[in-house]
Amino acid sequence: MSFPLLTATAALPALGAVATAAVPAARRTAAKWLALVVSLATLALAVTVLLRFDPDGDRYQLTESHAWIKDFGVRYELGVDGIAVALIALTAVLIPFIILAGWHDADPLETGSRRWRPTQGFFALILAVEAMVIISFEATDVFLFYIFFEAMLIPMYFLIGGFGDRAHEHGEETAATQRSYAAVKFLLYNLAGGLIMLAAVIGLYVVAGNFSLTQIAEARADGSLQMATSTERWLFLGFFFAFAVKAPLWPLHTWLPNAMQESTAPVAVLITAVVDKVGTFAMLRFCLQLFPEASTWATPVILVLALISIVYGALLAVGQRDIKRLVAYASISHFGFIIMGIFAMTSQGQSGATLYMVNHGISTAALMLVAGFLISRRGSRLIADYGGVQKVAPVLAGTFLIGGLATLSLPGLAPFVSEFLVLVGTFARYPVIGIIATFGIVLAALYTLVLYQRTMTGPVKPEVSAMPDLRVRELVVVAPLIALLIVLGVYPKPVTDIVNPAVQQTMSDVHKKDPKPEVEAAK
């Protein structure tokens, strides 16, 4: 038996989380370094996965399969396709930056009980989330996926509810109340989605008799597993609902702005750049593969919802007064693009969507983390409290601008490629929806540039005048992210090479071929 690389990639951060949590209260810094080292080692493992993965090989590679709960037909089955590999790499890349950016976010304010160890808890929870996200990307057993999809909520919930921004415009008391409100809202939305999915998971078992994604998909393809149309649609809806909450898709999105606003910037990045990707990823992997007919059936409605997400998210972003809320609504708009790309059912759309997941992760991380540095300096999240920062802290302002430009998909930066692919892919099949979605880009330019203008340009506000520029630790966080944005913007081929074969497979699952280009014959 070969080395279980996929298990190791998920197990390492899990063990790291336990070890970090066990560090004594006084050795706070040691816990931080331990978490960082573990996350870097995980990155190394993820890179190994990436190198061992052969884009032209089998659909699922590095597979592992063991019996687990025989009674429920559950197996411990792991395997990665190109889409999963890309997202695992994204997760593993982002976590060290998240840890580094949140270096001081969880230092205890005053000494509480001797056993109260918020710092250890913070980094342990981040690693726990990483472990669960990675195993969700790897699982090819529906039940196994479901378990971690749900269990992920618990550490996320503690991260949102337990750790907030140091400074809060309404004082610590209100901050705590709002934080726990946001955490509970996050949990209830996702738990409700998850439980409805549980009903569908049970239903799938009743219909199929096992949970193996590969077996069910095969049985569906060769016709040995027939599902009644209504059954398939109900099951699809059960799964899709959970993923749409997680993604989030309008009108199930309202937990995201609260959660991102109240949590610290690194946790906000963790939510939107890493955890939410499990939702969109699962649409590609589970909804389309298990329920191809129902997916086709639901496409028009989902595309319209995605379109509403794009425009509505962008419009609300324009109107925000709070920097983090603005980024949250921008993310909702971007998730609309991703879901639109997935359900456009063209290979360009789906490659674009996968690429979009990666790029959105990096660009949001860059923007949000710099925003976090900014907020921690001034102690306010309100846009109106800033002005003229670029004169005081030019490097901070510059990196913020690049993050913002990436968010609005400026050509030359990575998100442009994916957004372009998604739009082209959608246009090929649904021209009207593609055209309307384009307005999302215009609005993106509006909210990003207005945000930059209000905070960074103009006369220097007195409260801002003494603001220090980016420190070395912060530069170490931001610079590689920006470098990645530029590299992938100019040369996205490494990612698309890995992703494309998997996308072709998914396309054939739903029995779709790309529409032939039509050329108006000259008469």
């Binding site: 971690f148 439980l195 009743v206």
Partner: protein, 549 residues
């Protein structure tokens, strides 16, 4: 006329004594129950003859040994094949020795053992007049607040009777799910109910509340018993027998011989339906299903917390066992009549428990309503009427009972000057003050909520799967919705513990003796093991999933 001849005019000679068959009792197969009841009797003798100073130790020793021995007997019987191939009816048809009975007896014994540890805890309350005290009243007979109570406390009295009472209750519970005729069922019901009524009244603190709870429990329990008894009488009239197998035959119409004395009523469906409904009512009362749940919150709140934990876990196991046997052995032929009713009961139980729990402000009441919601989930598995249904219920009960005892054991630790601080507002910020206790309680709450990787999830999945397989898809959907509602209030407690600021005058967490630590530790271990690697136990429940008739 000789004296003998005169005598024979008005008497006839009876058959010689030797002709009456002595009842044949399979002592070996009944050993778990016999051991426990025997030890309870020994406990009574200890109360009478052992000096007060050493009673506590003698009682704890006897109880622990008895429960362990009984569990060993269950394991030995199961290993001998009595759960599967050698399943049989013992004691002249009174008790069944089969898979479900042995599985449930094992669960009850372990739950009883863990419950016993919390009963025996004497470190939580500050010592009174130099004597270590447990959760029970110094002298049950002394009026609360009276001089005699003060004198009893001062003298260092403790109610060590709780240990034999616990053993009697466990003994009754062991018989309840294995009862194979209706009279044994009733006797077992009373044998475990009466000690529980008493135990509920014995709290050391808040004695009036405790006594009120006991009276409520007793009155309503007596009502339920009366219903049960009436139902039994009607069923006897219907079938001419109290034995499960015979009644089932009459229901199926396979019984040919008719008892001449009952020829007028036998096979009368009205008797069957009314009698069956009344019997079900009695059992649903013990289970705590809506609309027979009214006693649950008051009794759970008023009873001494160790008793609440034990009662919530073990009573549920025993009562569901009896319910399963009744529905699967006696009334399967009546499936189409009772299923709609049980559907309705399950749905209102799940929803009712979950919704009302949201408004609770006392942790013990909250757990009480949560136990009602869980009764609804288990009922969903009961309704499946399949082998999977039985084994999923068995598995659920095993997981649930340890979570429950563990959770109530944690409740005993959080204390302020007035004893246990059960009001939810006092739990604010507990996570800051004692992260470990709060984390353990969070694990239990997550298991209640059915989060993956806990026993709660595996159990819920098993019963819902069985229900969906049995065609009860709407029931599963309602179950999932009420799980979501229930998750809300479990999460609320977690929020309170971890995200709220601790109150300056908040409660402290007492450092318990190894006994309570053991109880909580077992709870956590079982919760996680059944959550992560449930296969072995599912196999066990599967093997145990067949009733003998």
């Amino acid at each position: 006329m000789s004296a003998a001849a005169v005598h024979s005019l008005w008497t006839t000679a009876a058959d010689p004594i030797s002709k009456i068959d002595a009842p044949k009792i399979e002592y070996g197969q009944l050993s778990p129950t016999l051991i426990v009841i025997g030890a309870a009797l020994v406990g009574v003798l200890i109360e009478a003859f052992v000096p007060r100073r050493s009673r506590y130790y003698a009682q704890v020793f006897v109880s622990v040994v008895a429960l362990c021995a009984a569990f060993a007997a269950v394991v030995a019987l199961a290993a001998d094949g009595y759960g599967t191939t050698k399943a049989r009816i013992a004691a002249m048809g009174a008790l069944a020795v089969d898979g479900p009975a042995l599985f449930l007896q094992g669960t009850i014994l372990l739950a009883g053992l863990v419950g016993l540890f919390t009963f025996a805890e004497r470190r939580l309350d500050p010592a009174a007049h130099g004597n270590r005290v447990d959760s029970f009243a110094a002298q049950a007979a002394s009026v609360p607040g009276s001089d005699s109570e003060k004198a009893a406390v001062k003298a260092g009295f403790t109610t060590t009777e709780v240990f034999p009472l616990l053993l009697f209750a466990v003994g009754g519970m062991l018989m309840f799910p294995s009862a194979n005729d209706l009279l044994t069922l009733f006797v077992a019901l009373e044998v475990f109910s009466l000690p529980l009524y008493l135990l509920c009244a014995l709290a050391r603190r808040k004695r009036l509340m405790s006594q009120e709870a006991a009276v409520k429990y007793f009155l309503l329990g007596a009502f339920a018993s009366a219903f049960t008894l009436f139902g039994i009488a009607l069923l006897y009239g219907y079938a001419g027998s109290l034995s499960y197998g015979r009644i089932a035959q009459v229901v199926d119409g396979t019984a040919t011989d008719v008892d001449p004395a009952l020829a007028n009523t036998m096979g009368n469906d009205a008797l069957l339906l009314v009698g069956g409904a009344m019997l079900l009512m009695g059992l649903l009362f013990k289970v705590g299903a809506v609309p027979f749940h009214m006693w649950t919150p008051d009794v759970y709140q008023g009873a001494p917390t160790p008793v609440t934990g034990f009662m919530a876990a073990a009573t549920k196991v025993a009562a569901f066992g009896a319910l399963l046997r009744l529905l699967y052995v006696v009334l399967p032929g009546l499936r189409w009549d009772w299923r709609p009713v049980m559907w309705a009961v399950a749905i209102i139980t799940m929803l009712g428990g979950a919704i009302v729990a949201i408004t609770q402000t006392d942790i013990k009441r909250l757990l009480a309503y949560s136990s009602i919601a869980h009764a609804g989930f288990i009922l969903a598995g009961v309704i499946a009427t399949s082998k999977d249904g039985v084994s999923s219920v068995l598995f659920y009960l095993a997981g649930y009972s340890f979570v429950t005892i563990g959770a109530f054991a944690v409740v005993t630790l959080v204390r302020d000057a007035g004893g246990e601080a059960t009001h939810l507002s006092k739990w604010a910020g507990l996570g800051r003050r004692s992260p470990l206790v709060a984390a353990v309680f969070a694990v239990f709450l997550l298991a209640f909520a059915g989060i993956p990787l806990t026993s709660g999830f595996a159990g819920k999945f098993a019963v819902f799967k069985a229900a969906a397989d049995g065609g009860a898809v709407p029931l599963v959907v309602v179950g999932v919705i009420s799980s979501a509602i229930a998750a809300f209030f479990y999460i609320r407690v977690i929020v309170l513990m971890f995200f709220s600021e601790p109150r300056p005058e908040g409660p402290t967490v007492a450092v318990p003796s190894p006994l309570t630590m053991l109880a909580i530790g077992v709870g956590v271990a079982v919760t996680l093991v059944l959550g992560v690697a449930p296969q072995y136990f599912l196999d066990l429940a599967n093997q145990a999933g067949v009733f003998v008739r």
